[in-house]
C-alpha cells in the first residue's frame, strides 16, 4: 500500500463521553498532529487537547484601542484643525460629544477585525480546501458523530498502530483519508486565482459605486428637486391676466436703502451739484479697480484708453483720458455711469452708488497715471 497520499487515519465515536476519553488517551500517547471533529464544541475538549488559550481576545483589544484612538484623532483633526466651526457654543474639541462616535468606531473595528483575524490567521483563509472535505468522515461529524483524525505527518504515526489504538478505544468506524494531489499548505493568498478574484470583486464594487453615484442618483425621480409646483423664471403663469410668471414691482415700490437720483436727464447739473463723498484711499480704490475691471474695461480698456478687445465691433468707446473727461467734475462721470450716454447703457443696476463713486475715483487715478504732473514724480 502506497502511503504517500495518506493524509490521516480517522476514527468515529458515538457519544461525547467517548470522544473525551479518546482524546485523553491520544494526548497521553504523545500524538501532536491530530484533530478532533465534532458537530458542536464539546465542553472541556480544548482542555483535554491542551490547546493554549485563544489569543483572539488580545487582537480585539489592540484593534479596539486603534479604533478609539483613530476616531478621536480624526474628529479632533476635522473639527478643530481642518475646518473648525463653533457649534452650539461647544468647544472645537467637544470631548463628551465625541465619545459616542469613538465608541462605535471602537466596536466596529474590534469586531470586524477580530473576525477577519480568525478567518485569515486561524482558518487560513483562503486556504479552504482540505483532504477531510467530502469524505464520509466529514459527513458523519457534520451530522452526529464525534471523530478524531491522526495525521500521517505526526512523528509517532503508524497506520497499524493508530488503527489498533482506535479499535481499543471502541471507535465505531475507522477509515483512512487520502488526498489526490500534493496537499498544499502554502498560503494561497498570493495565488493568481485568488488575486483575480480580489480584482474582480474590486471592479464589481467600484463599478456599482460608480453607477450609483454618477448615474442612478441622477435618474428620475432623483431630479435634484427640479420638479416642483412653483413658477420658474421666464415661464408662463395662468394666475395673472397677462400670462407672465415674472412680475414687476407694484408702482411706487421703493427698495430698501435706495436713494432717489434727482438728476435724471440732467448730466451737467449733476456734474455741478453732486460731490464725491469718498476720498481716494486704498479701500475705495481697490473696490473701484475691481468694479472697473468687471464692468468698464470690456469696452473702455483696462487702462481706460478706449482700446479694449471689443474695439471695432461697436462704435468705438472714447478714451477717458481726453481733456473733456479730465475736466469733468466727478458728478458728471457719476451721471454717465448712472444713466449711460450715447450707446453706453446705464450701469445703475450693476453698481451701487457707492461703487460708482469708487469707480470714478479709480478713473481719476488712471487719468492721473497717464497724465502725471511733474511733482508726482517726487
Amino acid at each position: 500500500m502506497d502511503n504517500r497520499n495518506l493524509y490521516s487515519v480517522t476514527g468515529l465515536f458515538d457519544t461525547p463521553d467517548e470522544i473525551v476519553q479518546a482524546v485523553e488517551v491520544v494526548q497521553k500517547e504523545g500524538y501532536t498532529k491530530y484533530d478532533v471533529n465534532t458537530p458542536y464544541p464539546v465542553h472541556g475538549l480544548d482542555i483535554k487537547m491542551k490547546l493554549p488559550p485563544s489569543k483572539l481576545g488580545y487582537f480585539a483589544l489592540v484593534l479596539g484601542l486603534t479604533g478609539a484612538i483613530g476616531a478621536l484623532f480624526f474628529m479632533w483633526w476635522t473639527m478643530s484643525k481642518d475646518y473648525p466651526v463653533v457649534i452650539g457654543g461647544k468647544p472645537f474639541f467637544a470631548f463628551p460629544a465625541f465619545i459616542p462616535v469613538t465608541f462605535e468606531v471602537t466596536v466596529l473595528l474590534a469586531s470586524v477585525g477580530t473576525v477577519l483575524t480568525m478567518l485569515f490567521l486561524y482558518f487560513r483563509f483562503p486556504n479552504l480546501s482540505h483532504p477531510l472535505h467530502d469524505t464520509d468522515y466529514m459527513k458523519s461529524v457534520s451530522l452526529d458523530k464525534f471523530g478524531i483524525s491522526i495525521e500521517a505527518e505526526d512523528s509517532l504515526f503508524d497506520v497499524v498502530r493508530v488503527k489498533n489504538l482506535f479499535e481499543k478505544l471502541g471507535a465505531k468506524k475507522i477509515s483512512e483519508i487520502n488526498f489526490d494531489e500534493e496537499f498544499d499548505k502554502k498560503p494561497k493568498i498570493f495565488e493568481p486565482k485568488f488575486i483575480v478574484f480580489l480584482i474582480f470583486t474590486a471592479i464589481v464594487i467600484s463599478g456599482a459605486s460608480y453607477f450609483t453615484l454618477n448615474k442612478l442618483l441622477y435618474m428620475d425621480p432623483f431630479n435634484w428637486m427640479m420638479e416642483q409646483s412653483r413658477v420658474m423664471p421666464q415661464s408662463h403663469s395662468k394666475i395673472f391676466k397677462d400670462g407672465f410668471g415674472m412680475r414687476n414691482p407694484v408702482p411706487g415700490t421703493v427698495a430698501r436703502g435706495s436713494m432717489p437720483y434727482l438728476f435724471a436727464g440732467q448730466p451737467d447739473t449733476a456734474g455741478e451739484k453732486l460731490v464725491n463723498p469718498y476720498f481716494p484711499d486704498e479701500r475705495t480704490l481697490s473696490l473701484g479697480k475691481k468694479k472697473f475691471n468687471t464692468y468698464c474695461s470690456p469696452c473702455h480698456g483696462s487702462f481706460a484708453k478706449g482700446d479694449a478687445r471689443l474695439n471695432g465691433q461697436f462704435p468705438n468707446p472714447p478714451s477717458l483720458h481726453s481733456d473733456k473727461v479730465r475736466n469733468w467734475h466727478d458728478g458728471r462721470i457719476f451721471a454717465v455711469i448712472t444713466e449711460g450716454q450715447n450707446i453706453m447703457p446705464s450701469y445703475s443696476q450693476q453698481l451701487t452708488p457707492d461703487e460708482r463713486w469708487a469707480v470714478v475715483l479709480y478713473v481719476r487715478a488712471l487719468q492721473r497715471a497717464v497724465n502725471a504732473k511733474e511733482d508726482d514724480l517726487k
Binding site: 471533529n37 476635522t78 460629544a97 459616542p100 462616535v101 477580530t114 480568525m118 453615484l213 428637486m225
Partner: protein, 456 residues
C-alpha cells in the same frame, strides 16, 4: 410540587438524536414551499409594493406628500425609524446578552432573533435616508474628503446615529454570519443538490468542525457578544440622544437613554415572540422553541414593560417636581391634550396589558400571549408617536403650535415597512436554518460529556 428546582430543565423537549435535529431544522430548506408560504409571501410583497409606490410618489413630488409641516418636522418617518431600530434590539439581546449570562434557552431562538435584528435595522435605516428629503445626497452622511472641503458635524447626535446604526448593522451581520458558518458546513455535507453544494461550500468557508477551530470560534463568539452587548445599549441610547440633547420639553430628560433601551427590548421581544409563534407551528419546532422559552420571553416582556412604566412615572413625577411650568404643561398636554388618545393607547398597551403576564395561565397561552405581543408593539409605536409629535406640536411659542395629521402616503410607507420586513423574514426562513443546528445539538440531553474537564 409542580417544579423541581434541583434539576436543570432541558431546553429542548424530548429525547432527540443529533441527526433528528439536523433533519428537522434543515427540512424547510430541502422541501419546496407550500401554498401557505406563497400566500404569505404574496401578502407581504403586496404590502411592500404599496409602500414602494408611496415612496416613489414621495421621491417624485418631495416630502410635501407627507403630513409633516411646521412645527411638526419629524413625524411618521422618525417614529418608524425609532420603532424599527427598537425591534432589532431584542435579537442582539437574545444572542449576545443572554449568551453572556449563559442562558441556554436562548439557543432555540437566537438565530431567528439575530436575523430579525438585521432585517429590522435594514427597515429602520430606510427612514432617515428618505427623511432627509433628498435621498440622492445620503452619501453626505459619511465623512469623506469632498469637493466642498466640509466634514460632517461630529457633535451632532444625528451623525452619531449614522455611526451607531451602520456599526450595529455591520456587527449584527457578522455575528449572524459567524453563527451560520458551522450550520452551512452541516448543510454542505448533507445536501445532494449540486448547485446548493457549491453555494454552501463557498459560504461555509471550508469549515470542518475541527476542535482547533472551535476553540478560536468560541473565543470570537465571546468577543463579539462582549462587544455587541454595549453596542446594543449604545444604539438606542444614541437614538434617544437625538431627542434628549435638545431643549424641547418632553424630549430633554435624563432618563431617556435607559428608558429607550428598555422600550426597545420590550417591543423587540414582543415581535420575536409573535413571529416565533408562527415559525414553531409551521415548521414543527415545538420541541425546540418550547412553550417554556416563550414563557421566559413573556417574563422579559413584563420586566422591560415595567421599566418603561417606571420611566413614564418618573418623567411625570420629575416634570412636577422640577417646578418648571413648561415641563408641567408638556406632560399635562400629553395626557389630556389633543393627542390624549395616543397617550392612553401607549400607557394601556405598554404598562397595563403586559402586567397580565403575571398570571401563569396567560403567560403560557399562545393566543393570549400573541394578542398581548401585538398590543405591546402597537403601544411602543404610539410611544414614539407621543414623544415626537406631542412635544413638537406644542413647543415654547404658542403662536407656532400646530396639529399633525398623517397623510395616506405616510400610512402607506408605514405599511410598506412591514411588507419589507416580513418579505425578508419569509425569504430568510426558506433559505437559511432558522435555528442554530450546532448550538441546539450542544444543549440537547446527552449533548455534553457527563464528567468533563474541570475548567481550572
Amino acid at each position: 410540587m409542580s417544579f423541581d428546582y434541583s434539576q436543570e430543565l432541558p431546553v429542548i423537549e424530548g429525547k432527540n438524536t443529533f441527526a433528528e435535529i439536523t433533519d428537522v431544522i434543515s427540512k424547510p430548506l430541502e422541501t419546496r414551499p407550500n401554498k401557505k408560504y406563497y400566500i404569505a409571501l404574496a401578502i407581504s410583497v403586496s404590502l411592500l409594493l404599496f409602500g414602494a409606490t408611496c415612496l416613489m410618489l414621495t421621491f417624485i413630488y418631495g416630502t410635501g406628500m407627507w403630513g409633516n409641516n411646521n412645527p411638526v418636522g419629524w413625524a411618521f418617518d422618525i417614529v418608524n425609524f425609532v420603532f424599527w431600530v427598537g425591534i432589532g434590539h431584542a435579537g442582539t439581546l437574545i444572542s449576545a446578552i443572554l449568551f453572556l449570562f449563559r442562558q441556554k434557552w436562548r439557543t432555540g431562538i437566537a438565530r431567528f432573533a439575530e436575523g430579525m435584528t438585521i432585517f429590522a435595522v435594514m427597515t429602520a435605516g430606510l427612514f432617515p435616508l428618505i427623511h432627509v428629503g433628498r435621498p440622492w445626497l445620503d452619501g453626505w452622511l459619511f465623512p469623506y474628503p469632498n469637493q466642498n472641503a466640509l466634514w460632517v458635524n461630529f457633535t451632532s447626535p444625528l451623525l452619531w446615529d449614522v455611526f451607531a446604526v451602520s456599526t450595529y448593522f455591520t456587527v449584527s451581520f457578522i455575528f449572524w454570519y459567524v453563527g451560520l458558518i458551522p450550520d452551512f458546513a452541516t448543510l454542505r455535507d448533507k445536501t445532494v443538490n449540486k448547485v446548493k453544494k457549491v453555494i454552501y461550500s463557498i459560504v461555509s468557508l471550508g469549515w470542518r468542525h475541527s476542535n482547533r477551530h472551535w476553540h478560536h470560534y468560541e473565543m470570537v463568539y465571546l468577543v463579539l457578544a462582549g462587544f455587541a452587548t454595549p453596542l446594543v445599549l449604545s444604539v438606542h441610547t444614541i437614538v434617544s440622544f437625538d431627542f434628549a440633547v435638545s431643549i424641547l420639553p418632553g424630549w430633554h430628560t435624563t432618563i431617556f437613554p435607559p428608558y429607550f433601551v428598555a422600550g426597545a427590548v420590550f417591543s423587540g421581544f414582543a415581535m420575536v415572540q409573535n413571529v416565533l409563534i408562527f415559525v414553531r407551528k409551521i415548521f414543527n419546532y415545538e420541541h425546540i422553541i418550547t412553550l417554556d422559552t416563550l414563557e421566559k420571553m413573556n417574563k422579559i416582556i413584563i420586566v422591560t414593560g415595567s421599566m418603561v412604566g417606571y420611566a413614564y412615572a418618573m418623567e411625570f413625577f420629575i416634570a412636577w417636581y422640577s417646578g418648571s411650568p413648561i415641563e408641567v404643561f408638556t406632560f399635562v398636554n400629553r395626557a389630556f391634550g389633543d393627542y390624549a388618545w395616543a397617550y392612553w393607547t401607549m400607557v394601556s398597551c405598554n404598562v397595563l396589558f403586559p402586567q397580565l403576564f403575571w398570571i401563569k395561565k396567560i403567560r403560557r397561552s399562545i393566543p393570549l400571549m400573541f394578542t398581548i405581543g401585538v398590543l405591546v408593539n402597537v403601544g411602543m409605536w404610539f410611544e414614539r408617536f407621543v414623544i415626537i409629535v406631542t412635544s413638537l406640536s406644542r413647543d415654547y411659542l404658542p403662536s407656532s403650535w400646530g396639529f399633525y395629521t398623517p397623510t395616506v402616503i405616510d400610512t402607506g410607507i408605514l405599511i410598506g415597512s412591514f411588507g419589507f420586513f416580513f418579505t425578508w423574514i419569509l425569504i430568510f426562513i426558506k433559505t437559511m436554518p432558522v435555528v442554530s443546528i450546532a448550538e441546539v445539538k450542544s444543549v440537547i440531553t446527552g449533548g455534553q460529556p457527563t464528567h468533563h474537564g474541570d475548567a481550572q
